[in-house]
């Protein structure tokens, strides 16, 4: 899923400082799962904004709404009747949300309330980490089911580099050296030969480097 982090509240308050009636919109998708942008968090952000404004003696009306998803037009459409009543809208969905809202409602000021970070999953309750960089050409099966593009700090295909130490990446003791894990795993599986094979340079055309991407399923398009 897509993992995001809340923007510092001060930054959000600064974004809406000139507005009197705002809407906070959440999403029941990924951001609910990582406890950053669901209905609960909409409530918390709305309360925080009200508290800050009340404290500084200013008025503000903050409404709350959570859509099924902000990345599908049919759900975004649900706001059509009411969205124009607001001076500004804070979307706490991933980066896709504010953009879909902006496209659909060009007259409305839309602000992002979270910083979208990566595609990943939960290591444990409350901890999420990166797994996929969306390179467009998945090769995890060559590396024991692990992805060096997303999980190696240098995206090496012929790793590890000389900075790997005690299973950790040179950049921080908190970052796993995925190549250490790949080598150990594949050695255990008796697949060391495969790692000794030279992996040629990657084509980045299918990654973001090739330009903004689009995926189409012809048989589904009306």
């Amino acid at each position: 899923m897509i993992v995001a982090q809340p923007k510092p509240i001060k930054e959000v308050l600064e974004m809406v400082k000139d507005f009197k009636k705002i809407l906070v919109v959440g999403c029941k998708g990924c951001v609910t799962v990582c406890n950053v942008g669901g209905a609960k968090e909409v409530g918390i952000l709305a309360a925080a904004i009200r508290i800050a404004r009340k404290r500084s003696g200013q008025d503000i009306e903050v409404d709350e709404h959570t859509l099924e998803r902000q990345c599908d037009p049919e759900y975004v459409d649900e706001l059509a009747e009411t969205i124009h009543e607001y001076d500004a809208v804070i979307s706490i969905a991933c980066g896709v949300g504010p953009q879909f809202l902006s496209e659909r409602y060009p007259a409305v000021r839309i602000f992002p309330g979270v910083n979208t970070q990566f595609m990943g999953g939960a290591e444990a309750h409350g901890i999420w980490s990166e797994r996929c960089a969306g390179c467009g050409t998945c090769v995890v099966h060559y590396f024991g089911g692990l992805c060096p593009i997303a999980r190696c700090s240098k995206s090496l295909l012929n790793g590890p580099c000389g900075g790997s130490s005690h299973g950790k990446c040179e950049i921080s003791k908190d970052v796993e050296c995925i190549w250490d894990t790949i080598v150990r795993k594949m050695t255990e599986q008796g697949r060391l030969e495969e790692l000794i094979e030279f992996k040629p340079p990657k084509s980045w055309t299918t990654a973001r480097d090739g330009g903004p991407r689009r995926m189409m399923r012809e048989e589904l398009v009306k």
Binding site: L157, F198, P200
Partner: protein, 310 residues
Amino acid sequence: MSGYKAGSNLEKVLKSGQFAFTGECGPPQGANVEHLREKAGHLKGCVDAVNVTDNQTAVVRMSSWAASLILLQEGLEPNFQMVCRDRNRLAIQSDILGVYSLGVRNMLCLSGDHQSFGNHPDAKNVFDIDSMQLIHTVKTMRDDGKFLNGQDVDVPPKLFIGAASNPFAEPFDFRVYRLAKKIAAGADFIQTQCIYNMDRFREFMKRAVDMGLHEKCYILAGVTPMKSVGMALYMAKQVPGMDVPDSLIQRLRGAGKGKVAEEGIRYALEQIEEFKEMEGVAGVHLMAIEWEHRVPEIAERAGVLPRPVV
């Protein structure tokens, strides 16, 4: 020049079977050409070739190719270095042609320290290709006369290809396989990370020799004299992939005030003596960073002077 891949001085010395001795010189953090010339001057006549680092530790310095050219002007042979962190394959191939055209004949292919270590941590990471693929690129340009996309290179660059090896990084067992992989990709010579743990290095070399790697590639052992106890502790704790045995730290501590640097040099000299006899080791790479003025003395005491002229 028949029989030589590039015909550099380093290649000639190694091919003749003599013990090679290379040094290192970091470019300035600015355009201070005078200081670079001065540092390089100390190394003249003491080493077969000089490594010129490339934004080492991700700190911006004069580019390796420019500093390499300055060294050529000073009558030294540079080991031009390129890291994969800062350039994509277009710039890489382009710079390879550039340096060759201006007289560079040795090239070291490295991954590069992550930019978070350096003074511009906000920079975008390149790593379009990795060090293994870089070695392969230089080899393809040199021996096949082709760019990575298969197109012809009008005049192929003849460079003597170097790579780095860290016998002390983990997983330990895999390091010798990685070395084999680099050699298969095209590395002609290897310089190891600086060695302090001699037991572990002996073990590594034994495996390398067992695999016959020393016959396919020249392996130079890295040596950095410890200047102080502080330096030893720093390297032991802060530098990833470095193995500094406690016994060495104790030895330095025991040397007494003002005598630590000398003890560090003595240790390095002992290492060099052993490397001269060690099977599979074709030479030594001395990294005396910002200590270039001591290199002539160290070279003298190590008995590697005068350098051979082939």
